[in-house]
Symmetry: C2
Subunit: 217 residues, 2 copies
C-alpha cells in the first residue's frame, strides 16, 4: 500500500493487566463492558481527557502527553462497527454514534460495516463514512481523506487485530491499567499478529504502563 | 494464620504483555518454556541478576532495586514442585533442583509435592523440604523456619494462585515484559483471586513495567 509518509497509528488502547480491552457484556449502558470504565481512569485524570467529556481540571504530564499524541497529526480515523454503536444487522432508527452531536474526532471517520449507509455529517468536522468493502478499502479511503496526515485505527480489539494481521499498522500504543477485568475482548489473542513488531518505548505513570510497539522494517 | 509481623511476599514474577508467566512446552532444556527466557531479560541485565548466574557487570537502578527487594528480608521460600524440577510422579534418580550444588536461596525452601522425600541439604545454606500436606502447612512451616523474616512464595503460577485464592499473600510484584509468548501459564487467569488486592505501585524501566499489588486490610 502506498502510504507515502503517512503513518497508520493506534493510540490510547487501554488494556487490563489480565489482557482485556473491554469488560464483558458490552451494551448501550456499558459501551466498554462491565468494569471497562476503570481501564480509562488514566485518561479521565488528564486535562485533555477531561476536556473531551466537558470537564475542567485534570493533570498534565506523561498520561496527558500520550493522550494528546493520539489526537495530534491525525487526519482520519478507522473504527469498527461496534465502536460506532451497539446496533447489529441493518441500520435502524437514528443511531449517530456514542458521542452526541459533536463527536471528538473532528475529521473523517471510516466505519467498517457490512451494512451500507449514507455518510453522516456531524457538528465539529466529523463525518462518518460507512465502508462495506473491507479493511484495506477503508484504510485506503482514510489515507486519501487525511489530507497528508496520519490515520488512526481507533478500535475495537477485533478491528485493530484485522490491521495487525495484515501488517498495516506502523505504531501501536497500549496503556496497561493495573486492574483486572476477568473476561472480555483480548487485544493480544494471537502472538503471530505481533510478530513483526518490537517494543520501542516503555514508560509508566502511577496510573498506567505505556508501551509503544513499532513495526520493524 | 498468625504471622505476627512476618509478611508473605511474591517478587519478580515476570509476565509477558499477553499474560503468560512461562512459555509453552516446559522441559529440562526449556525450564521456562519455549521463549520464556525473554521474560527475564530485565533480570539478567541487572548487576544482581548477572551475579546470580555467575556473570559480571550489569546495571543498577530500578530493575536492580526490584530484583534485590525480592531477596532481602526473606527467611524462607515456598515453591511448587514444577519450579523445583521437571520430574512428575515418584522421585527418581538424584534430581536436586535446577540450580546446581549451591542454589541461590541460602535459606530453607519448602517444595509443595504429593511425593514424600527426605530433606535435601545443599551448599550455601539452602535446604529443600518436601511438604506433602498442602499449601497452608507449607506456609506455616516456612513462617516458622524464617527466623522472623518474611516468606517468599517463589512460584510457579499455579502455586502463587493457590495462595492468592486463600488471601495468604500480602504483596505481589509483577514485572511485565514487552514481549508476547502466545501461550503458556497465566498468572491472572481468575479475577476473583485478585479481588482483595490493589495496585500500590506502578513504575517502569525501559525493560519492564513493575506493578506491586497489596492485599487490602
Amino acid at each position: 500500500m502506498l502510504t507515502g509518509m503517512q503513518k497508520v497509528r493506534v493510540h490510547n488502547i487501554s488494556m487490563s493487566v489480565d489482557g482485556f480491552m473491554a469488560g464483558p457484556d458490552q451494551s448501550l449502558e456499558n459501551p466498554l463492558g462491565v468494569g471497562g470504565e476503570s481501564l480509562h481512569d488514566w485518561v479521565f485524570a488528564t486535562r485533555s481527557g477531561r476536556h473531551m467529556i466537558g470537564q475542567e481540571g485534570g493533570d498534565t504530564g506523561l498520561d496527558e502527553d500520550f493522550f494528546v499524541a493520539g489526537v495530534t497529526g491525525i487526519g482520519a480515523t478507522v473504527i469498527g462497527r461496534n465502536m460506532f454503536g451497539p446496533i447489529r444487522g441493518p441500520w435502524t432508527g437514528d443511531w449517530n454514534g456514542w458521542w452526541g452531536d459533536e463527536p471528538p474526532y473532528h475529521h473523517p471517520v471510516f466505519v467498517l460495516t457490512h451494512q451500507a449507509r449514507a455518510p453522516l455529517e456531524m457538528a465539529g468536522g466529523t463525518t462518518f463514512h460507512f465502508v462495506t468493502d473491507g479493511p484495506e478499502a477503508a484504510l485506503q479511503q482514510a489515507l486519501a481523506a487525511a489530507g497528508g496526515e496520519d490515520v488512526r485505527i481507533g478500535g475495537g480489539a477485533s478491528t485493530i487485530r484485522q490491521y495487525l494481521r495484515r501488517a498495516l499498522i506502523d505504531e501501536l500504543h497500549v496503556a496497561i491499567a493495573p486492574v483486572l477485568l476477568g473476561t472480555g475482548e483480548r487485544l493480544f489473542a494471537d502472538k503471530t499478529e505481533m510478530s513483526g513488531y518490537s517494543c520501542t518505548r516503555l514508560v509508566s505513570s502511577p496510573a498506567a504502563a505505556h508501551m509503544v510497539f513499532t513495526r520493524q522494517a
